[in-house]
Amino acid sequence: MSPAQLTKDTRYMLPMYVPLLATALLAVAGYYFAAKRAAASAGGDIRKLAALPSQYGLFTALSVIIPTLAALIIGLSFGGLGGALPQVLLGVAGLGFLVSIYKISPDFRARTHAETWIKVILIAASVIAILTTVGIVFSMLFETRNFFSQYNWRDFFFSTEWSPNFRGNSALGIIPLLWGTLYISLIALTFAVPVGLFAAIYLSEYASRRTRSFAKPAIEILAGIPTIVYGLFALITVGPFLRDYFAQPMGFGDSASSVMTAGLVMGIMLIPFVSSLSDDIINAVPQAMRDGSLGLGATKSETIRQVVIPAALPGIVGAILLAASRAIGETMIVVLGAGAAARMSLNPFEAMTTVTVKIVSQLTGDTDFASPETLVAFALGLTLFVITLGLNVFALYIVRKYREQYE
């Protein structure tokens, strides 16, 4: 443990677990005490109470826990209140206990009030989703501003050179990274979209029940495999295979890590993603539509190509956009399969690199949060977030509109 952390810890008079433990105990004690007191206030006849004794107990327990938790979160986000946080927490818990006990009377609607507390918890839990997004944006925005105060934003967005140098004078242009990202994503989608779409069509329109019961789970297994596994597959199998049988004989270079390696493997990863989304979307097309076409004497494939797919098109486009967002944000496959050289080339058998690879390489190992070489990772992260956010929101909007149409 570093000396800095030691001094930080001794600055607190009380270790943090003391107030937390005390709050928990006070809540439990408060539960039984309040229940007893409520029963006593009605002279032992609980029918005279406005709520069950246990509901009085619940109210007191929640009155202790919730304000304390709120104080904890607020306190932590203000840097521990200069070490006074444990005392503050104890105070809040005690106050919650006293006020709730004071309120006990036969007329007090404890259940309604307890339920209000519970609702506060529920709302707080849903707000975490918003807070996460806010956290993501601000954590990156803050450091990105630091980055742009040291490095010209025009050079970042428009320069075609990426060569970080820890002695300063780095060229940190995002264009070559975006090029690699988009090139790999394009290869991945070119492979995954037709395969995934045709697989979904075959499974939902043609496959016998036996084929489906075997093929569908097999494809779902692909979806459950962590991306690090795909990364290793790219590194030890696909990369060397492409190099030995395609790149070298055809004179395209001799690198095992390449855009093609990462793109193909990422394509495999995206197959189940595309197929399960398309499957949902194709199944949402009403059977009446198919019947209408078949009833006119169309073949199955004519029905699919000319009625089902056009009807499902918005949904399918949404699914492809979601897949693209996935491809752009994918990290482990490109870290292990694409290479580290920032290069803008058309040769798919050359190693190139992506935004995510560079985020990893700039933020692992020895990092100095004052240097632009480290801070650039936050600018890259923010760019990545904005691109995927745009794709996701647009895609979700299309898919949602599409679903409503057939509900």
Binding site: M1, R111, K119, L122, I123, A125, S126, V127, I128, A129, I130, T132, T133, G135, I136, S139, F198, A199, I201, Y202, Y206, T211, A215, A218, I219, L222, I225, P226, T227, I228, V229, Y230, F233, I236, I268, I271, S301, E302, I304, L322, S325, G329, T331, V335, L336, T356, I359, V360, L363, T364, F369, A377, F378, G381, L384, F385, T388, N392, V393, L396
Partner: protein
């Protein structure tokens, strides 16, 4: 109107039916491609990784002279600890040479080369063994010791006589001797429990590297993820599904959650680095931070199935509860939630599975460090889950970055372990779904 017979297919129909068959063939091809990809992936991983569950050992009798190992003569541990692994290596080399001589196998290798066939880890193994059993000093000890990665690789087919001739770390003579020792029963290959329990090992010792720390770290993180994300996800889905008014505000939360489920995982790593490590100053590389990051990432992925589970409980159940005078809150907690529990649980297990396999965000919060100490769940200094650790998928990444080819086998072996964990979790999820599935 001309009457065409239905019994004769006209030219156009034939053409259309051919198109139909082609279309169907494309579909079938797509399925075959997908399944072939799966098979190749699994064959590749299992083909390279399965051998990491077996390991080559040599049974060696090591002399333990008191004058070398215990200068105090009274088995004072602190004095005995002064003897480093270098001291033990000499005894080891001597012991192994004796074993070779006793076996009667002729060899021209020097004592140092013979000793070099054992793993560099072997000296540490025997040192730990002696420090734990100091009464053995003055006698001799017979132990199963790790052979080095090249010898091990030879028995697994990774190293050949040809490759050994070009390799400065081994030689064809060593491999020949190892083969002879194996035939004599001195060298043997057995199930490698140490792979699952040992900590990581340094660059030159792939044969000693294990997943102990990584499994422990992953376990701690899963506990953190479960404890934080389950209650929050359930509470959030109850609010959104049962209480939230349908307005812009809840619409925003909804879009937000869908988006968060699709945000690249590495972005969560940046978030964790900025908030948990730089701002809240929690310990780098700790399962606590890793767990919190994965938890934020998993939350939306649990909320979505949890809401679906709540939605699938028919409104009649709520009406029935409200009809006997229960409050809205009581109807939810007494009736709706228990009925939706299996669906929620299935979603949680699948979410945990995704979190277990996630790598990228953990790289950014420093879990990629080389950790040999088993992390404690709690220490007063580091707090709860605060000790540096690593995790299963990160260990895989870590091993792929090592130079020694022995680590490729280890990385694949780690993936097999990871996939088995995932398989078990998904099997549990499927079992739950089958067992409690309800048709309304």
């Amino acid at each position: 109107m001309t009457h065409k017979s239905l019994l004769v297919a006209d030219a156009r129909t034939k053409k259309r039916n051919a198109a139909e068959r082609r279309f169907k063939a494309y579909g079938l091809t797509a399925i075959v491609v997908a399944i072939l990809a799966l098979i190749m992936l699994l064959v590749s991983v299992f083909g390279t990784g399965a051998s990491s569950f077996r390991q080559t050992y040599a049974t060696v009798t090591v002399p333990l002279p008191e004058d070398k190992l215990d200068k105090s003569g009274v088995r004072d541990i602190d004095v005995m600890k002064k003897v480093t692994t270098i001291g033990y290596t000499k005894l080891l080399n001597e012991g192994f040479e004796n074993v070779v001589i006793a076996s009667g196998i002729p060899t021209e290798l020097s004592r140092k080369d013979i000793g070099g066939m054992l793993s560099k880890e072997a000296a540490a193994t025997i040192r730990d063994h002696i420090l734990a059993n100091s009464e053995l000093v003055g006698t001799e000890a017979t132990l199963d010791l790790l052979m080095n990665g090249r010898i091990d690789g030879y028995f697994k087919g990774r190293v050949t006589m040809e490759s050994a001739a070009l390799d400065s770390n081994t030689s064809p003579e060593e491999l020949a001797l190892a083969q002879a020792l194996k035939d004599a029963g001195i060298v043997h290959t057995k199930f490698n429990w140490a792979f699952l329990t040992n900590p990581d090992a340094s660059d030159q010792r792939p044969e000693a590297a294990g997943l102990g720390v990584a499994i422990l770290g992953s376990l701690y993180m899963m506990i953190v993820v479960l404890v934080t994300s389950l209650p929050i996800a359930v509470a959030a889905s109850i609010y959104l599904e049962e209480f939230a008014p349908k307005n812009r505000w809840t619409d925003l939360i909804e879009v937000n959650i869908s988006n968060l489920a699709a945000v690249p995982s590495i972005v969560y790593g940046i978030l964790g680095l900025a908030i948990f490590i730089n701002f809240l100053e929690l310990n780098q590389s700790s399962p606590l931070v890793g767990g919190l990051v994965l938890s934020l990432m998993t939350l939306p992925r649990i909320i979505i199935p949890a809401r679906a589970a709540l939605k699938s409980v028919p409104p009649s159940i709520r009406d029935a509860a409200l009809g006997v005078g229960a409050s809205k809150m009581q109807s939810v907690f007494h009736h709706v939630l228990p009925l939706a529990a299996p669906g929620i649980l299935t979603g949680v297990i699948i979410g945990l599975g995704q979190a277990l396999g996630e790598t990228a965000p953990l790289l950014l919060i420093g879990m990629v460090a080389f950790v040999r100490e088993y992390p404690a769940a709690y220490t007063p200094d580091a707090g709860l889950f605060g000790e540096a650790s690593t995790a299963l998928p990160v260990q895989v990444y870590n091993w792929t970055q090592r130079a020694d080819p022995g680590f490729v086998e280890r990385a694949s072996g780690a993936i097999i372990t990871l996939l088995i964990f995932l398989l078990v979790m998904n099997a549990v999820a499927i079992f739950l779904r089958r067992k409690f599935e309800r048709r309304w």
